[in-house]
Amino acid sequence: MSKPTLLLIDDEERILRSLAMLFRGQYDLLATTDPGVALRAVTEQRVHVVVSDQRMPQMRGAELLKQVRARSPQTMRILLTGYSELDAVVASVNEGEIFRFVNKPWDAAELRDTVAQATNISASLFAAGPAAPPEPLQTETGQFVAPEVARPETILVLDDDAEIYHAVQDIVGTSQPVIWARDLDQALTALEREAIGVVVSELAVANHSVTGLLKMLKAERPEIVTIVLTPFADVSVFIGLINQGQVYRLLPKPLRRGAFSMSLASALRHHRVLRSAPALRAAHAVETIKAPEEVSVATRVMGFLSRMRRAGAAT
């Protein structure tokens, strides 16, 4: 069997040389400083993983990865950056739907693991073949059109602000049930009772951070798709939500109706894809949680989820 293909792109040749050495032997390596070359490569051949720098003269990494995704959605995308600017982080999620955000300087062993994991996932996506995820954003019209489904999944809104709940209700109309949770317990109850497909969440409700919940949820129930809606812009929190929570969209408050409605539509669509093709869920494998304050929440969520699973098995 041939080796998997890894594409490296950075405007600094020395980074390319260094990374090439790190992955030497295990991969078919493509290393370039030219985004055009990179995009041609992912179109013409099967590339499993792209590791891209963020700041490059011709094109930003987030933009490049967005285009990679459009051309080859099965290719897993990793952004490697020297300084995490907010715009880059947000764009890499919303447009690039990236797998991981890695800071320079990186840890060699960790990066090797991350790339290996991405490679496995990509290989299984390629193997799944035609069931590969569609292009949700490309077909977007901005108008919310709820597809016909037998049992519409519930949208869970986790926010102190009633306005967000009402906005979601307005957008989806009667086609989807919407539940409003104002604290962790209400959220867990909702998760227990309803078939939740999409979570729209703030970073904190009732003065408690919910990032731990969001991360744990993705680890345990990867088919649930998360949109984070927040006025806060903390780069490190966002990176955590990407790497450990595979958050689907990061949207700013105050809410912009058009963008939100589009995101909600594609989140629902993405959820359905994940539900119907379990193999694709692997694309959202998450890192384990690191922050101690999140671990305690995670343990709680964990306990609850396993209870739920046992209950499910009993029926």
Binding site: E12, R14, I15, R17, S18, L19, M21, L22, R24, R55, M56, P57, L80, G82, Y83, E85, N103, K104, P105, W106, A108, A109
Partner: protein, 435 residues
């Protein structure tokens, strides 16, 4: 005519502190009695004395009026026994005790004649509460102005400082990126070479074992053959020419990366000149180059830099860290004024006998005519909240002016903007730069 009665948010105690407890004259008192009262030690400072009936001031009698009357022939005889009210000023200056000091001072100053012949009456809810001396009021006001001025200077210094911190933050973001890139490959290379080193150590150990076996008295041929095979395998993978060449390249890159980081740090130090005297003779071209390194991250992908430096320019005596701050502000503004691509930045320097000029010109969006007069005002900004404080140009202008220089701007919408900084070659006084 009463001073505005304002229940003061300012301390109402101010006027009270100026209050003098002057015993008033009754309206029935004679002019002679008033003259006697002026001679009392307690009233030595008073220009006028109050005349009070039923607790309310009805007027004042002034020293000046008495003098005028008594200086006339038979003045004393004619007026001495008359009631003091015949000579009184029925419209004295009345000030409410609770009025703010500034308002009171403005009010009193507007009503004082020349020469000053009157004091003012202090009233509490319309009732006589004592007298105040105009000069005391003015000197209290002076003190107030002095301390306000000091506070203003302090907050101005604070503004300059916070603008400094803001440009420092910007710089740190840029430099962090510049440093993290070499740091990225340096760290990775070191990790890889370290693991190669361990391979080498292991190989060396096996070779030692082989040597031991060869020099041992009892030679086990089978074991020896195995050991030789092991050594040659290990040696071959380590001596792989491609691996060796790549590793050498990695080590070269690593040294290069460390030097890059060193240069960045040197530049950072040059930029801030924290380790040098505040004022120095410097080459402005060097200052621009240092600033460009710092601004590199913010502008490198947006602006094409065109340098047209004058040659053999005289050194300028200035505070280099301040001049760098100005340059960074102007270059950052230019970077923010151009679009995503096609931006150009022209940096030109020239000198004549008296002045050195720096031209900083961009082909960005330009400045609207109605904004042009305001761009040097503190807090004027057209940038969204959180992006611009509007202090950049205001601070820059102050810095340049403190150097005895000027800063001019010409701009055309959609075409671009040019700033010209002129610095005198005969330096401004040291003290002006010590800000």
């Amino acid at each position: 005519m009463n001073a505005p009665l304002r229940s003061g948010s300012e301390s109402p105690a101010d006027l009270a502190r100026l209050r003098l407890d002057v015993a008033p004259l009754a309206p029935t008192a004679t002019v002679d009695a008033a003259a006697e009262a002026f001679l009392e030690a307690a009233n030595a400072r008073m220009l006028c004395l109050p005349i009070v009936a039923n607790g309310r001031a009805v007027g004042t009698i002034s020293r000046h009026t008495l003098n005028n009357v008594f200086l006339r022939r038979f003045g004393r005889e004619l007026y001495g026994t008359r009631s003091v009210t015949t000579l009184m000023n029925a419209e004295p200056i009345r000030v409410s005790l609770s009025a703010p000091l500034d308002d009171a001072a403005r009010f009193v100053a507007a009503r004082l004649g020349a020469p000053i012949t009157e004091d003012f009456v202090l009233e509490d809810d319309g009732r006589y509460a004592g007298m105040g001396v105009a000069v005391d009021l003015l000197s209290a006001l002076q003190q107030r102005v002095d301390s306000a001025f000091t506070a203003l200077k302090a907050s101005q210094a604070q503004l300059v400082q916070s603008e400094k911190m803001a440009s420092l933050g910007q710089m740190v973001a840029g430099v962090a990126h510049e440093i993290n890139t070499p740091l990225g490959y340096v760290r990775n290379n070191v990790e890889m070479v370290a693991s190669l080193f361990e391979d080498g150590v292991q190989t060396l150990g096996e070779h030692h074992k082989l040597l031991d076996m060869l020099t041992a008295d009892d030679l086990d041929e089978a074991a020896l053959a195995k050991q030789i095979a092991r050594c040659s395998d290990l040696g071959a993978s380590l001596a792989d020419p491609e691996l060796l060449a790549d590793t050498r390249a990695l080590l070269r890159d690593t040294l290069h990366g460390v030097d890059t980081i060193k240069d960045l740090v040197v530049n950072l130090r040059n930029f801030s000149r924290l380790d040098q005297s505040r004022v120095a003779e410097v080459s402005i071209n060097d200052c621009i180059d240092q600033t460009l390194v710092i601004a590199h991250n913010a502008i490198k992908h947006r602006l094409e830099i065109i340098k047209r430096y004058g040659e053999n320019l005289p050194a300028v005596r200035c505070s280099p860290s301040q001049i760098n701050q100005v340059l960074l502000n102007l270059i950052t503004n230019a970077g923010q004024a151009v679009g995503e691509d096609g931006g150009k930045l022209l940096l030109k320097t020239e000198a004549d006998a008296d002045w050195l000029r720096i031209h900083i010109q961009d082909n960005g969006r330009g400045i609207a005519a109605e904004h042009l007069a305001k761009i040097f005002d503190p807090f004027f900004t057209t940038k969204p909240v959180g992006q611009g404080t509007g202090l950049g140009l205001s601070i820059s202008q102050q810095i340049v002016q403190a150097h005895g220089g000027t800063i001019h701007v010409v701009s055309e919408l959609q075409r671009g903007t040019k700033f010209v900084i002129s610095l005198p070659l005969r330096a401004a006084s040291e003290s002006a730069l010590a800000a």
